[in-house]
């Protein structure tokens, strides 16, 4: 496992980057590299990129809008094309939709309230490196903490996502008004996952649950066996 080269990006206003780095080190045994958003490139060899939660650029204009255009994101787009797995959590999910790496958009929660609590999710598709350690249909508990998690896409796009198995996680109850209860979305090649819930906050039993571990275990085991 010593070869697992993960990168955690930090944008101005990211606040879950350290949690993400701790979670990755905890699961993989290797501390990830930390890369500032203004860097034009990623390290030469990268196995996994994480875009953390937070409030990049104070959510100015739209959540994730500025961060989505930052220099490092051009390198992330190139990495995605090479097949590198990229995970965006919360604000990271918003950045991925703003960059166009994932379809749809994340809008203000339908009840206009910040939602901060544990939520129960269904794993909708175990067929990606992020979900391979779960079983399709399995229910897991992961915390959410967001104001703009209301996933929107037009009906044609939603039908396509369902048909292609690109919905990774769904809420089992109403949380934020998300279209069809969508909590996490994969790209067509299934090497990009954006999700509003925070798996990096469900790693240590002392923090209330460990259902997030399997997401990182899936990524690590795929790369180690590859």
């Amino acid at each position: 496992m010593s070869g697992f080269r993960a990168v955690v990006i930090t944008f101005p206003g990211s606040n879950c980057d350290r949690d993400m780095a701790v979670a990755l080190e905890n699961v993989s045994g290797v501390a990830p590299a930390r890369v500032w958003h203004g860097e034009p490139s990623l390290p030469d060899r990268v196995d996994f990129v994480a875009l953390p939660g937070g409030f990049s650029y104070g959510d100015y204009l739209r959540s994730g809008a500025m961060a989505g255009r930052s220099p490092i994101m051009r390198a992330v787009v190139d990495a995605v094309k090479r097949g590198v797995p990229v995970l965006g959590v919360c604000n990271g999910f918003q950045v991925l939709t703003e960059t166009g790496l994932l379809p749809g958009a994340l809008m203000r929660n339908a009840a206009i309230r910040f939602v901060c609590r544990d939520v129960r999710l269904t794993v909708e598709n175990e067929g990606s490196c992020f979900t391979s350690a779960y079983r399709t249909g399995q229910e897991i508990v992961i915390p959410v903490a967001h104001h703009d998690g209301n996933y929107f896409a037009d009906e044609t796009t939603l039908d396509r996502l369902e048909g292609e198995g690109q919905i990774a996680f769904r809420y089992t109850e109403p949380v934020n008004g998300s279209a069809r209860g969508i909590a996490g979305v994969l790209n067509e090649d299934r090497n990009v996952l954006g999700m509003m819930p925070h798996p990096e906050r469900a790693i240590d039993a002392a923090h209330g649950g460990q259902d997030g571990r399997k997401l990182f275990e899936g990524v690590v085991s795929r790369l180690v066996s590859a």
Binding site: A105, M107, A110, A111, I112, F152, A153
Partner: protein, 78 residues
């Protein structure tokens, strides 16, 4: 030259903020408000050489999110 970019949610996209504003107006006793949709006004100060095509590109690349928003560009006389 001053340019105003009006960004609004596409028809059919739920606008929770607009709905909340409408409820507040009703709470204040205003009658007859049948709908509220909140948008953004972005003012740019640009050289006269900046073309309509360039302004359009600015909107599509950053100022509006074409998944959920429409935009309208208005040039104001200097």
């Amino acid at each position: 030259m001053k340019v105003q970019i009006h960004v609004s949610l596409k028809p059919g996209v739920l606008d929770p903020q607009g709905r909340a504003i409408q409820h507040s107006l009703e709470g204040l006793g205003f009658k007859g408000v049948n709908g509220v949709r909140a948008g953004k006004l972005i003012e740019l100060e640009v050289d006269d050489t900046v073309s309509d095509a360039q302004l359009d590109e600015m909107c599509r690349k950053l100022l509006a999110n074409m998944v959920i928003e429409n935009y309208r560009v208005e040039r104001l006389s200097a």
